[in-house]
Symmetry: C2
Subunit: 400 residues, 2 copies
Amino acid sequence: MPIDRREFLAATLATGAALAAAPSPAADREERVRTKDDLPTPALLVDLDKFEANLKKMAEHCQRAGRAWRPHAKTHKCPEIARRQVAAGAKGVCVATVPEAEAMVAAGIPGVLLTSPIVERGKIARMAALAGKGDVMLSVGHARQVELLAQAAEAARTVVSVLVDIDVGDRRTGVLPGEPAVELARLIGRSKHLKLVGLQAYAGHASHVVGFEARDKASRLALAKAIETRDLVTKAGIETAILSGGSTGTYNIDSTIAGVTELQSGSFIFMDADYRRIGGESGAVYLDFQPALTVLATVVSATHPGRAVVDAGIKALATDVASKPELIGRPGLEYTLAGDEFGVLAAIEGAAVPALGDRVEMIVPHCDPTVNLYDRIYAVRGPRVEATWAISARRESEKL
Amino acid sequence: MPIDRREFLAATLATGAALAAAPSPAADREERVRTKDDLPTPALLVDLDKFEANLKKMAEHCQRAGRAWRPHAKTHKCPEIARRQVAAGAKGVCVATVPEAEAMVAAGIPGVLLTSPIVERGKIARMAALAGKGDVMLSVGHARQVELLAQAAEAARTVVSVLVDIDVGDRRTGVLPGEPAVELARLIGRSKHLKLVGLQAYAGHASHVVGFEARDKASRLALAKAIETRDLVTKAGIETAILSGGSTGTYNIDSTIAGVTELQSGSFIFMDADYRRIGGESGAVYLDFQPALTVLATVVSATHPGRAVVDAGIKALATDVASKPELIGRPGLEYTLAGDEFGVLAAIEGAAVPALGDRVEMIVPHCDPTVNLYDRIYAVRGPRVEATWAISARRESEKL
């Protein structure tokens, strides 16, 4: 039985979702009254109460700390979530790919920063075209990228905003800090079609350091190189408004470092088992944010004692990290991957094993690449499914 | 510049693709003359020469061995490839999920066997509905599944063909061999809406055993339980035409076992690094089939000596196996995963490192879940892109 629109809105507001629903309730698909039990499995769920609490906490943290906030949308790849982040105070979103940038601009999201380097002419032309339509910026880490982007911006008769991406120890992307970065900033300044707006310093190697003190040290060491580089850039007569960095693991570290103007922290909106294990300021489990993202699975085989097989395997849970899925409300069960389609739940110390047809819910090991396996997220409050959100930015946008 | 249809067909035939193109050239998207260099990366490629050689080899093997052949489509999730398999002699395809079954039936593929157990009422109803439209079969491993399926088939006023799924040592799905399987066969026989057509015995635990002799032993041991069970079923007065089993690792073992009527081998069409390491009948590398599936990536950062960063990470290559991506034509380079978006190529023993903007091509570690990360496969012959095939069966078919 479909519920009507007024009833849906009333229910949404009544359950305290005013903030989350504000940006575009119309874009939510209105659901028949559905519960988790009605969903085909494996299904990706976001718990709205936890999601909203995470959103509020980060928004308030950034406001108190006087920092801007541009959460990484590669975590969710979902325009509906980006809208909620912007409504909560984010100045925009970071993205990792050109299709993600295109999807966010198409959804009207402002301040879209592409954090990954691109060197293919086709992608560079797409970003230059996008700069003519929306509010986008690119990170660049090499003279060749600057050159190609300047040519594409000229061809598109536009001016593209760029950040110099600095490798502060992550050893993946960016130019080396110090003089090489200053040189790249100068090169950008020489093009009429590029506008240097800031620096990017993502310390990916610091984000998952276990233990708060060690993490604090790693992140400060990394960002000191960025601050030093910014000072050199300023000394060379080049103004940069933005210094963008930060991760979910270091949000409360980086926001105390003078000079860091905005945080890119993204995973906090969902959290995952791998972030939980890094520990918080006090305690061995990182509890600053609540685990909001789960996979719902069904027991499809239970032939052997002490063992149940669920329909969630490699295709349902990203398996790149050592952390295992954490079963909710079922103590003494351990998940092991068992191929593309299956996982095995083994009972330890005589725990009760779910029966054939039973459902289990698991906190995901690694949120971003797990989201990448799905086309939709079911937004649930308690047992009820309130909306279905398309993970539309995960797709290559070129039509088939 | 688009090439016209006649020219396209002529080119296809001229390059010896008659067999592969035969089933539905009209369904191929005709491409502008494109080469690999034109593709945005990361991109999933299938080498048509190798793909066609693999297809031909398996088809001829099965014909010689007098076995039917129902390749597993969970490997490719692609109706275009299923069509080519059927045109080459396959009696149908196996599938692992309900959306895969629906996509294959919609594409007109006959003999679609769902090999994974389902217990959700919604999915069972969808399969019963599908049985009314196409030629489908389900594997069942538990009395509860039989009961639910019989109810759904009755409600849909249809008769559904089923196989008894036997757990021959894989410990994931299926009923135990011997009396429990016979009991399940009897239960199926009591429903007017179910038709028992055979047994399924997938020895997943044998498929990747390293070394031919050890693998031969493991597979024979497993399938002996299936044969024994079939004899008991026959003795109980129940006829079963099909005994379905086999994997890419054991195709030339299982096809010599009396009683195995058809092979489910799927990965052979693409091969992957993880199958290569299991060894063949002679030699440490398994060379029976050629590695046809690759990921094309671009070097997007090259800041550090002896190290290049490519745009293919967790989202581009399934990382559940120990095997690494194998770089083609670039000796002395080793790939390491570096997050969602990136991989690092490290030079060993002073090998040449590709430069910024260079492209590299890698044999994938594990074919099935890598395909699951993409929306399309580019079918290439040499440098030329001949077609783009939609991986349409990977999606949940329920509309968003």
